[in-house]
C-alpha cells in the first residue's frame, strides 16, 4: 500500500456547531495505481486528500504513508515528508511567478538541496512536451502549459505518491485531456502512484479506481470505469440529493 487511512475523523467546531467532514473513513491507496476521489460539493473529498497528503491534521484516526504514520507528525517532519515523498498538482496557482519553468520543476529538489537526476528530468520534460519552453516564466505560458509544468514538477522528484486537487479544473477539455494523458502514462509506464480529487466524470475515467464520497463517508467505488458510468453514478447522487 502506498497510503492508508484508518478510522479517520475530521471535524470542525464543537458542540452544536460541530461539522463532521470525514466520518470514520478507511481507505487504502494501492501502489502504482491511479485513484480518483469523487463526490458532490461538501462531501469531504478535498479534506480527505489534504489529510492524506499531510497538509491538514485529522481529529482522530491514523494515516500512514507507506510505513510512516503521518498523523501526529510535527510540522518540520511533515514538511520534509511533503518535500521528499509527495508531489502536488493544484487546480490553479501551481507555479511561482518569479521562477521560470525549469526552476519551478526542480524547486522541491532545490529546496531539499538535492541534485535532480538529469536523465530522469530530461525524460519528464520530454514526456510533458516542454523542452522548448523551459526558460519561460509562468506568465509567458498558457494555462495548459502551466499545468504541464506543475505535472512535471510533481513527477521530477519521483515522489512515492502524487496528489492532484482538480488538476484540470481550470483547463479547457483539450488541454485537460493532455494533462490527464500524462498522468495516466506516468502511472502505466512509470509505475507512479496518483490520487486525484475531481468532479469531472471524464477526468475520473482516466483512473484505475474511483472512490465516491458523500457526507464524509466512502459510499461506493468503481474499477476501470468509463466516463458514462461515472456520470451515471454521479447522477444518482444528484437525484438522491434532490429527494432527501
Amino acid at each position: 500500500m502506498a497510503a492508508r487511512a484508518r478510522q479517520v475523523v475530521k471535524a470542525y467546531g464543537s458542540g452544536e456547531t460541530r461539522v463532521v467532514a470525514l466520518d470514520h473513513i478507511d481507505v487504502d491507496i494501492a501502489r502504482g495505481q491511479f485513484t480518483a476521489i469523487m463526490g458532490p460539493s461538501g462531501s469531504g473529498k478535498s479534506t480527505l486528500m489534504h489529510c492524506l497528503a499531510g497538509l491538514d491534521t485529522v481529529s482522530s484516526g491514523q494515516i500512514h504513508l507507506d510505513e510512516t504514520e503521518i498523523t501526529g507528525l510535527k510540522d518540520k517532519k511533515l514538511t520534509q515528508l511533503r518535500r521528499d515523498r509527495i508531489g502536488f498538482i493544484f487546480q490553479a496557482f501551481n507555479l511561482l511567478p518569479t521562477l521560470n519553468a525549469i526552476e519551478n520543476i526542480t524547486l522541491p529538489m532545490d529546496i531539499a538541496g538535492r541534485k535532480p537526476d538529469r536523465g530522469w528530468l530530461d525524460q519528464v520534460v520530454e514526456t510533458v512536451g516542454l523542452a522548448g519552453r523551459l526558460k519561460h516564466r509562468p506568465t509567458e505560458l498558457s494555462g495548459g502549459q502551466q499545468q504541464r509544468v506543475a505535472v512535471a514538477r510533481a513527477l521530477a522528484s519521483r515522489p512515492e505518491i502524487i496528489f492532484g486537487d482538480e488538476p484540470t479544473g481550470n483547463l479547457d477539455s483539450r488541454a485537460g485531456a493532455e494533462v490527464l494523458g500524462f498522468l495516466r502514462r506516468s502511472v502505466t509506464e512509470l509505475g507512479q502512484t496518483i490520487v486525484m480529487v475531481t468532479h469531472d466524470p471524464v477526468a475520473a475515467s482516466y483512473a484505475d479506481r474511483v472512490l465516491y464520497l458523500a457526507d464524509g463517508r466512502i459510499v461506493d467505488e468503481m474499477h476501470h470505469p468509463t466516463a458514462d458510468q461515472v456520470l451515471d453514478r454521479m447522477k444518482s447522487f444528484d437525484a438522491r440529493g434532490r429527494t432527501s
Binding site: L55, A92, F93, L96
Partner: protein, 859 residues
Amino acid sequence: MTVLKTSMRNFLAHKGRMALSAVAVILSVAFVCGTLVFSDTMSTTFDKLFAATSADVTVSPKSAEGAGQAPSSGKPESMPASVVSRARKAEGVKTAEGAVSSESVTVVNSENKDVGPTSGGPTIAGNWTHNDLRSMDITSGHAPRGPTEAMIDADTADKHDLKIGDELRTIAATGDHTAKISGIAAFKVTNPGATIVYFDTETAQRELLGATGRFTHVSLTAAAGVSDTALKANVASALDKGAYDIKTQKETADDNRKSVGSFLDVMKYAMLGFAGIAFLVGIFLIINTFSMLVAQRTREIGLMRAIGSSRKQVNRSVLTEAVLLGVVGSVLGVGAGIGLAVGLMKLMSGVGMELSTGDLTVNWTTPVVGMVLGVVVTVLAAYLPARRAGKVSPMAALRDAGTPADGRASTLRAVIGLVLTGAGAFGLYTASQADKASEGSLFLGGGVVLTLVGFVVVGPVLASGVVRVFSAVLLRAFGPVGRMAERNALRNPRRTGATGAALMIGLALVACLSVVGSSMVASATDELDKSVGADFIVQSDKGAPITAKAAASLKKAEHIGHITRLKGVEADMTTPGGKTVDEVSLSAADPTYAKDLRRETVAGELSAAYGKNAMSVGDKFAEKHGLGVGDELKVAFAHGRTADLRIAAVTKDDGALDNGAMYLSISTLEKYVPADRITQNEIMFATAAKGQEEAAYQSLKDALAAYPQYKVMDQTDFKETLKDQVGQLLNMVYGLLGLAIIVAILGVVNTLALSVVERTREIGLMRAIGLSRRQLRRMIRMESVVIALFGALLGLGLGMGWGATAQKLLALEGLKVLEIPWPTIIAVFVGSAFVGLFAALVPAFRAGRMNVLNAIATE
C-alpha cells in the same frame, strides 16, 4: 455618501495594513508637536522667570546691554550710589534699591568642584535685595550678613548637596572670595538652570565690582496708581539725560526673552528640520502602502468601475482613506507629541536644565499645525497611488491575475532620474570648484537636493542592478532560497526602490555629516601639527576667560619655557584712506605667541607686529582696504584711547586657526586702555623647558587645582577634546536623524508585511511542496537585507559625495583635509544588514505561521 462608506469600510478592513503608515504619521506629527510644546514650555518658563525677577522699572548704565558678546574686563559696568538716591526722589517711586549682579563668576565648593550649571545656563552672583523676594523665598537659614556669609539657590544646593555652613568660593575677575553658606533661597517659579549666589551689598560690591559704593543697576517699584511707563518717564527726568538705560518691567523681560529666544529658536527650527526629514521619509512609506493596497484591490476596483463607478469616485475613495489615515495618525500624533515634550523635559533635567510640567504650554496652534501637516502630507503621498487606482480599467475585474506587478521601471523614469542626478552632480562639481564659499554653498545646496531627488527617481532602475550584484555576492550562497529572495526583491523595482530610498535619505545625511565631521577633526589636527608650537593650552571648558589670579598662578608654574597670554579686544579702525570699520576684533598677545602659533606672512615679519605701536592684519583685510606693511591704522580701542598703529606684517589667511586675526602685543594695548578695562585672558599657551614636558604639565595642572573651570591640555589632549566635541555633536545629530531612520525601518517592515500578505498563495504553495518554515523565514529575511543594503549603498554613496563636496568647498575656510571615516561608513553599511534582519522579524514570523491550507485554498 457611498464613497465615504466604502472608504470607511476599506479603511477599517485594512487597518492592520495601515498600522505602520499610521505609526509613521504619528511619529512625525509627534516630533513636530513635541518640539512646539517643548519650546513653548521653555518660553513660558523663561517668561515667568523674567516677569518675576524684573522690577517695575530698572535703571542700568548705558552701555551695559548689547556688549554681551564682546570680550570684557570681567567687571560689570557700574554706576555710583548717588544714582539710587536721585532715582528715589523721582515722582511715583515707592522704593528704590541699588543692586549688584555679575555673570562673570565661577562658584566652587570646598572640594574645588564647580557648582555652576552644566546646561549652559549662567552663574550669577549679586547682592540680596527686596526685589529678589519677589521671585524667591528663603527656605532655610538667613540672608547673608557681612563678608563671610553667602546664600545659594535651592536647586543648586540640592544638586550639589550643599548645606548651611558649607564653604563656597566665588572666583571673579577681581579675585577669589570665600564665604560660608548662611541661607538657602528657593525660586517661586521654575528656575531653568541658573546658579545664583547672594552676598550682602557691601561684599558684593567689593568682590564683584572691585569697589564699594557702586551698583550695576537700580530696581524701582511704583507707588500705587503709577504705571510702569509713567514711572519710567519720571525717573528719566530725574536723572541725567541719556546716561542710563531705563526700562519698564515689560521692556526688561522682553530684552531678556530676546536673548534667550534666539537660542530657543535655533533649537526649535533645528528640531523641526529633523521632523521634516522624518515626514519626508514617512511619505515613502505611505506611498508604498497605498500603492500596495491599490494593487491588491485591483479586481475589486475593476468591479466597482464595471458596475459604474467613475474614475473620480475611485480616486476619491482612495484619497478619503488617506484622509482617515491622516486624521487618525495626527490625532494620536498630537497626543504623543505632548508626551514627547514631557519626556524631553525630563531628559533636559538630566543634563541640568530644570523644567516643570506645571509650565507645560500647549498653544492652540500646536494641534492645528500637527493635524494640518499630518493630513496634508498623508493625502499628498496617497495622491499618486489614488490616481493609479482611478486608471484601473473595468477589465481588471475579469482578469484572473491576482496582483499584477507594476512592471519594469520605465525608461522615462531612468532618463528623468539620470538628468536630475546629472544636473545635481554638476552642481556639486561646481560647488567644489568655487572660489567663494558663499557662491559655492548655493551650488552645494542645489546639488544636494537634485542628486537626492534624482536618486529617488532613478532608484527603482538602480534597484535591479544593485540587487543583482548583492545577490551574486551574498544570496547565491543560500541556494534556491537566496535565489527566490533575489527574485522577490526584484519583482517590484518601484516598491524596492521606494523602500530603499526612505532608508537612503537618513543614511545619506549620516554619511555626509560623518565625512564633514571627521574632515574637521583631521584638518584641525593637521593644522595643529603644522602650526602650533605651544606644548600646552589653557582654556575654560565653558568659554569663560581666565581671571588675573588664575593667570598669576599659572605664571608660577615650574619647568616652563614661556607662557603666553591671549586677549580679545574690540576696536573701531580707520584706514589711511579715511575709511572706518566698526567693531573689529583684535588679538592682543605676548610676543611669544608668534612661536606658539606659527603663521605664514605675505609681507613683513610676524614678530615685528608685537613691537611698539605695531600690529598685523590678515591678507584678505589688507587686500580689501588696500593696506600694506608700513601703513598706519587709527585704532580706537573700546573703553580706551585711540592709537596709531603701524602694520608690521600681513598674515596669510589660509588656515582654520586664527583665520583673519590681527595681532598686537599686550604691552601696546596697555598703553591705550586703562588697567581696569583691560580684557581678561581668553586662552593661555605654555611651552615646557627643554626635556621637562612631563614635569611642566604636572606643574601647570597643580597651578590650576583651585580653578576647576580651566583645563590644561597638551597637544594630544587638545586633539582628543576636539575629536570628542565633534563626536558629541555628531552623535546628537545622529540621534535626531534616528527618527527618520526608524520611520525608514518601519517602511521596510511595512513593505515586507504587505508583500507577505500579497504573496499568501505563493507562500502556501511553497510550503505545500516542502519549503520549511525556517527556509521561508530565511527567504523573507534575505529579501529584507537586500532592500536595506540597497538603501544603505545609495545613501552612503550619496552622502559621501555630499560630504566630499562640502569639504572641498569649506577648504576655503580651512577645512583642508578630506577624511572619509571608513570605520563609520562600514559600520553603518553592516548595521543596515542587521536593520534588514530586524525589520524582517515580524513579517517572517507571520509568514512562517501562515496556515498552508488557507493559503492555497482557491478563492
